[in-house]
Subunit: 554 residues, 2 copies
Amino acid sequence: MSSDRLIYLPLGGAGEIGMNCYVYGYGPAGAERLIVVDLGMTFPDMDTTPGVDLIFPDVSWLEARKDRIEAIFITHAHEDHVGAVGHYWEKLGATIHCRAFTANIARRKMSEHGYSEATVRTLGAWPEDSVTAGPFTVGFVPISHSIPESSSLVIDTPEGRLVHTGDFKIDETPGVGEPFDRALWAQVAEPGVKALICDSTNVFSAHPGRSEASVGPEIEGLMKTAPGMVVATTFASNVSRVRTIAQAGVAAGRSVCLLGRAMRRMIEAAQETGILEDFPSVVSPEEAKDIPRENLLLVVTGSQGERRAASAQLANGKYMGLKMAEGDTFLFSSKTIPGNERGVIRIMNQFSEMGVDVIDDSADRYHVSGHANRPDLKEMHAICQPALVVPMHGEHRHLREMVKLAGEGGYPGVLAVNGTMVDLEVAKPVEFIETGRVYLDGHAHVGQYDGIVRDRIRMALNGHVTVTLVIDEDNEPLGDPWCDLMGLSETGRNNADLAEALESALGSWLQKADAKVLRDDTTLEKDLRTLTRRTAENEIGKKPEVTVVISRLS
Amino acid sequence: MSSDRLIYLPLGGAGEIGMNCYVYGYGPAGAERLIVVDLGMTFPDMDTTPGVDLIFPDVSWLEARKDRIEAIFITHAHEDHVGAVGHYWEKLGATIHCRAFTANIARRKMSEHGYSEATVRTLGAWPEDSVTAGPFTVGFVPISHSIPESSSLVIDTPEGRLVHTGDFKIDETPGVGEPFDRALWAQVAEPGVKALICDSTNVFSAHPGRSEASVGPEIEGLMKTAPGMVVATTFASNVSRVRTIAQAGVAAGRSVCLLGRAMRRMIEAAQETGILEDFPSVVSPEEAKDIPRENLLLVVTGSQGERRAASAQLANGKYMGLKMAEGDTFLFSSKTIPGNERGVIRIMNQFSEMGVDVIDDSADRYHVSGHANRPDLKEMHAICQPALVVPMHGEHRHLREMVKLAGEGGYPGVLAVNGTMVDLEVAKPVEFIETGRVYLDGHAHVGQYDGIVRDRIRMALNGHVTVTLVIDEDNEPLGDPWCDLMGLSETGRNNADLAEALESALGSWLQKADAKVLRDDTTLEKDLRTLTRRTAENEIGKKPEVTVVISRLS
């Protein structure tokens, strides 16, 4: 028996939705040759990451083993799979392999970061094409999802075949992109699958997934009956959906205008790579202004109510010279990602105030998910008949449920969250790696545990007081301390001025303070901070964050 | 024709869900005698109101007309209808009328604020009981909702009868509380209804509402098959549901333990007022510890994932000596209010990590809404046959849709958001009152537009820098300026220390600064702030909030 081992290590995406990054390795323990699957990111929120721009998985473990990385593979062009390539490529340094559409998007990101486009290699579909990366031979197996050219990976190793599904659904009529191909998947399964590493996000959805083709007639019906202008939003990357919406508009006698940078970029990428040859001709926003409303369709970015997207701009008023009005219709051909509800509801109400009818997907007519539901996941297990199921891409509850689902089919499963290194031969965790998140904050990289964002959250919850004090050459306070408030009520109990109340409390304390304390910055700072917090709590019932600055004239 | 007018003025709840407060008036324009219906509150969120404790409607308009307020009526004991009574009673000063259960809750709030319990008067149900308040005669008409003794108001005026539905559903088997009584409602409608002021929250729910009675068998089934301990959460105020859950537990051979202050308080209030006589006997947390898990049911607060509620405490570990374990089941007999998804998902995953099966209402089995759906709203319109429908309690989109729904039934509707005074005789807005929100922040009251919470949000997004500078008697800087960071990356470009980079930029600028600038605090502050922001933007790509403190030795 070989002393080599075959390992799987998720660094992002296992225990969460978003920020996918998985590592496979083969070789002597601690000296495995590695490949990386996906380099994604996730988005911040006000509750936990205010002011943060983007969130990446912490890849320090990989960085420390840069010389062992053979290649990077990106399954598809969603931001939670490809979003970190530009930010991390230099740290990892290996060639990035993708299919054509994904490569087009990845190259745009690489050039934004000043890297050569040659860092990204385009690979054809398996079985015609594949690439050898150290002990691995890897191929992209076309599979349906909600973006063109999504792929599973066939990873052939000295210990047998691994199948990494990537995000997928079983859809035989996906519109743009390859239908789910049962014959091809029989070929994938044919030699036996050692482990199926499987998308888990929709494991709680009990009904079979619906095809992308099912939304076309619904959207067309809506376009035909809507009296005024129709504005529709969906994920820009769902090129098939964008085409369906545009075609429905044309069928209803409407000219189509695309609004939002991402919308135009995705259509452009799909056209450049030859996978979208029948997209209706579009009009520019300038041309759209002269078209009667009932003959106009805008397809816009911002299905999640993002503040700067086209949908939110239209909700605020004019955008690119276009404006919604009474009698128009706004269609969300999308679902709201948990956590984005408030933003979506905000723009819905803004539209309502304009007299615009808002139609969302609450009746399940205008949107289908891009992920495999429970029965489809079961079918995928049955197709691959794997020796082991490893759930990936999902929160803990999804991964756990997937292990149960695999068990129902008679397949052993192993639950591995981010940082859990699994030996796929023995189907057990063998090491736990420290993982986490890295925040892009402005252009600084900030660690999840650095305390920087925590301090911002504290200021948001508690407000901030600056206390300044000048101490003279004799270690005596020069005048009273000075308090500046930010984010705090100006008045405390009995309508007293809060800053004055704080200054007076600190001043009285200083008059009686021990000379030893006055000589020692650390103690003095600590005592002033404590007294400021205690006084504020008494005055307004809040304990603010405090910055104490002591200026010494000595 | 009389010169008196009959007015309706929402101050909260119309254009939002939560924070209900409505005013009716009758008399000469500008001198109407007034009644207030509901004094509710709403809850803050991190996106828009970080650190805020509670949110109330701005009742300045009422306060300025305190001498014209005849009475306050509270339709039911949900916080968004009764939550502000203690905070506002002194400002308004009129007697508060409620039915017994609501009065019990309102009195608890009044005594917490140190007011006499006599400020709250208990009224029986209409038509047996009613109260005259100036030109109005007002009665509480029992109606089903998701809390005991919810009531509509019959408001008889010199111009005819108004019906204010309060929150309601049409439920003939509500469990605890009165079933929807068609005969009684025929009596309400009999003399003709001048205006129906109607709950709108569920106008987009197309299916008929389901009865509270429908969840009992489902929950009982779950209790019987669950292998370990069952922990169930719902809104504590849904006394009927809490009883259903408890009874299902007993039927499955489980002892029942209530966890969470609100849960015990609501059951206590319902028992004190005699509307809950058949609640199963409960065990204390101490007793529960000795009961085998499979014979135990905990009913807990925290259906919205609230951080301090019993559910979140159990998700974090031990609570009151009790701890969930592998094989236990956690049931959400509730829906997640939009905006609370992240908190709920967080505890779901914490339970998953413990090996606990989490069951939510995604299959529509374990929860029913307390609000009337579209077909039920239609029925209510048909029952009352009002001359006018005024939608209340709902976001703008709900109010707007309700006007449409009324129109479908042939009833004219008028859309009035907070601050819109409607003359109910002419069914038109006649005045627009400035309204808004008041934040309880610690124990200070802070206005929505005071900029205080805005500053906190800015600190959360941008971080904060304190710049201190001492200027000597000759108006010369004494040493270099000093920069303290909070919530900002410590290093900027090329790994330089950010504080040092800022100090160096400010120091260089000061050396060249004009003597006139150095003498003028306002200009100096402004210039230092601008330069700090510009330098930080260059170093880390963020423009922080800045507090500049200049200490002058002169």
